[in-house]
Amino acid sequence: MNRRLAAQAELFTFSYNGQPITAVPGDTLASALLANGVDIFSRSIKYHRPRGAWCLAGRCSHCLVRVDGVPDLQACTTPAAAGLNVTAQNSYPSAKHDVLAAIDWMFPKGLDHHAMFAGVPVVEDAVAKVARHIAGIGPLPDAARGPDVPVEQRRTEFAVVGAGPAGLACALELAKAGRKVELVDERPRVGGRLLSALDEVPPDLAWAEQTATEFTSAGGQLSLQSTVLAIYKDEQPRLLAIRQRGPDRLSLLTAQKLVFCNGAIEPLEPFENNDLPGVYAGRGLARMLKLQQVLPGQQAVIVGSTSEALALARQFAAAGAEVAAIVDPSGALRSTEFRLIAGKPSRAHGRSAVKALDVLAQTGGEERIGCDLVAVLGMPSAAIELPRQAGAFIGYLREAGGYRVEAVEGKTTAEGVFAAGDVTGVGSAAQARQQGQALGRALAALAF
């Protein structure tokens, strides 16, 4: 199975359940496993359903694996490295054939653990013992604690979280005005949503990289591979705890002003078997295609109602895959290139990986479309967690993807906390850049 688009000269291997996996520099564990035809990584916590990658963004738990004796690492954000020992979790005897998947069949309608056998003598005790025995995902780590990680403490005037279109534009304006800015992003590269290259109009990834260069030239501090864990106020308000890779360390950054440009998260859209391996979040899939040159299927169905769906279809076609259909829940898309079905997905089929998707057409009929890849482009929803910790008010607006930070001209309800881009309600990349730039200019002009 060749799912890697271009041949690579530099290869290395790691092991997955004892089987050698060929990887290339820049691979994550997930991209390498998928490129090698491994679709099921582990089993799910309760029903032992097969799980592989889904969001490809470090936001869900589908792809958890054990790596060198450490449980529950996300395959999609863990860099592949030569000699790693990767194993499946929560599966007996293997991720592909798991006897405990019987639980999924025994409880087709789900199980309410609160009411299950409640008060039934003897049975309830037996169930409690079994439940404890099969709980959890992975066993304890193999080894005792390693050494302390280095902890760095520093201060900045502005911390900008997220180096997508909004964050880059905002941070550049601040840096150009001579402000002390640290721009933090968890990925190894800048760009955020631009890494998926699904926007029809600029900015694009080249703009992001150019802007990042200008930003650092203007004196800005760019911290990549840096995950903001929380916004504390232990001694000072706006204390960011940041976990950094390469080398591993923890930074405690105190910021006078905090700007959230941390974008949105792709949500799981409900339909039957929406968790089946082979069903992916569309933006994540596009990003993997761009960064790791991996496309884990040959016959794709795309679910989406925006121009992003058409852009993704073109990417798949350019990569040599067949686009069987674009399923459009809104019914508003128009295309002469691809087959469009106005309708919504109702059920994915396949035992261990997707083989077909049932679509309920708006006209009433149901159609089964053969495929080995389903890319779902749902409306992303704002990453509200960190802004809420910093005190920003979170509102709900269905049309903007659900929860979002409420901001007026970039000002949130919390003192010293600002936001721009998709985190304030999902729009286009161009809107995000424009909001970030306007906010950056406004903040740069303020005397604090």
Binding site: G110, P141, G146, Y232, P267, Q389
Partner: protein, 494 residues
């Protein structure tokens, strides 16, 4: 098969959300607790908006009532080893926590219709004590009862504790209450139709010095005299119970295999449901704003949803009890103190008992879901109703737990939160009538162990309110502080 998943971390389906709505859980926080959505490895990042959309459609919730559940640090699971690397200044006090609390006034979940105009008994506080009392009153035929809760059920300490239940106390009354509570745990599902998953894995106390070892021995003698099989163990003996322990610096241990852990939330729902079915009214998202006093009595309770005329009022508001009492002109000596706690990723079962290291306040256990649940008090914690989380706690806790169990170094923290202990000067509760306000009953001051005493206290308080005499309600009366008599409980952990 054929499941439509909403939260894939915990395998929660669209049907599960509908089932929770059908059971009456209609705010995001409660649906989260009932179904478990958002409590797994991703902490709700990939599912919360999808659940909100379902609630909007299926429960016809208006958008302003869909406020998200409180997002807890950390944003991504992070190893205890990472946090243990952070330096801690032992001289400073913990600062304010995050996220900041939402304002409960005009809460979006507040019902528009007014509260009942009158009731025989008004119980203030929908935690374990208030609900256990309401249920037990209803069993005795007292059903004209209204329970007032300022937030959702489980929002206070009853929903924030670690779920430990132990008989290992230093005073007879606490040993006996806890033993009765454990008996209730065992029959709870039978009586109230909901599992609390009580697991008798025991409590293992570790003494770091001779003085704490003597306390363990003194307690064990008391326990044995009351029929509780607490055993004193050597450090090797402690490792026999928990092989992963590093007992360097430990001189002795005490183990009672009958202690255990459970899930706190179903206890509240079970009592609330049992009481409601018998006619008790449980009013959530309803704040007490004052009292109407007449002739040294409370004539009515004023709330932000109207006034309830009543014959008797019970103050079961936990850490909020002093505030409530003050509205009636009563000064309680209780003080709220934040205690922080965390939960890790779920692992396969390996840890039987709850382990507590005396002196440090460290305690941790493994829940039935496989997570390590643990906390540690901070001696520098100032009094106050602060329930946010700090980085300092993560650093202190991680250092302490890795000293006790180094193999947890790469285990990742999923979520941290905090609750308030309701601390009294002698670590004993405040029970019974209030001097000067004759129909005002105190049922508070449980110093972090109200959850485990609640089931037993609920029975005793109901019996006492129905006229049975019970010496506890005079022994632990508020008057003891003025009269200078007290019996100190010195075995508080956390």
């Amino acid at each position: 098969m054929g499941k439509s998943l909403v939260c894939t971390c915990e395998d929660v389906t669209v049907d599960d959300i509908q089932h929770a709505i059908d059971k009456g859980f209609k705010d995001v926080e409660s649906v989260k607790r009932y179904t478990g959505f958002g409590t797994g490895m991703c902490q709700g990042k990939s599912c919360q908006s999808a659940v909100a959309r379902l609630l909007e459609e299926k429960a016809q919730l208006k958008s302003e009532r869909l406020s998200p559940f409180t997002p807890r640090p950390p944003f991504q699971p992070t190893s205890l080893r990472t946090y243990a690397s952070i330096p801690v200044d032992p001289a400073t006090a913990p600062g304010p926590g995050v996220p900041p609390a939402l304002n409960l006034a005009n809460h979006p979940q507040m019902q528009a219709e007014p509260v009942p105009e009158k009731a025989e008994v008004v119980i203030i506080g929908g935690g374990i004590l208030g609900l256990a009392l309401a249920y037990n009153l209803s069993l005795r035929g007292v059903t004209d009862v209204v329970v007032l809760e300022q937030s959702y059920l489980c929002a206070g300490a009853s929903g924030r504790n670690g779920g430990g239940v132990r008989m290992q106390w230093s005073t007879r009354s606490n040993v006996e209450l806890a033993r009765r509570s454990i008996d209730i745990c065992k029959t709870f599902a039978r009586d109230l139709g909901i599992n609390v998953w009580f697991r008798a894995g025991g409590y293992l106390f570790l003494a770091p010095d001779a003085e704490h070892a003597r306390r363990l021995e003194r307690n064990a003698a008391l326990h044995n005299s009351l029929g509780v099989p607490t055993e004193i163990l050597s450090p090797d003996g402690a490792r026999g119970v928990v092989p992963e322990l590093d007992t360097k610096g430990i001189v002795a241990a005490a183990f009672n295999p009958q202690d255990g852990v459970l899930f706190p939330w179903p206890f509240l729902w079970g009592y609330a449901n049992g009481a409601s079915q018998r006619g008790v009214k449980i009013e959530t998202f309803t704040r007490v704003t004052g009292f109407e006093m007449a002739q040294g009595k409370i004539a009515a309770v004023k709330t932000d949803r109207g006034t309830i005329r009543c014959q008797r009022v019970v103050n079961a508001a936990g850490a909020w009890s002093p505030q409530v009492a003050k509205l009636a002109g009563v000064t309680l000596p209780n003080e709220p103190h934040r205690h922080e706690i965390l939960v890790t990723e779920p692992m396969k079962p390996f840890l039987g008992p709850l382990v507590s290291v005396l002196g440090s306040g460290l305690y941790f256990s493994q829940s039935n879901r496989g997570e390590i649940v643990g906390g540690m008090g901070d001696p520098n914690e100032p009094a106050g109703l602060e329930m946010g989380s700090t980085l300092r706690f993560l650093a202190r806790f991680s250092k302490a737990i890795l000293k006790a169990m180094p193999v947890l170094g790469e285990v990742k923290v999923l979520r941290q939160w905090a609750g308030c202990y309701d601390v009294t000067p002698d670590n004993q509760p405040i029970l019974g009538d209030t001097p000067g306000v004759s129909n005002f009953v105190q049922l508070n001051g449980f110093v972090g162990h109200g959850f485990m005493m609640g089931p037993a206290m609920g029975e005793r308080a109901a019996a006492w309110m129905c006229g049975q005499s019970d010496e506890m309600f005079s022994r632990f009366n508020l008057s003891r502080f003025a009269e200078g008599r007290s019996e100190r409980e010195d075995f508080i952990i956390g």
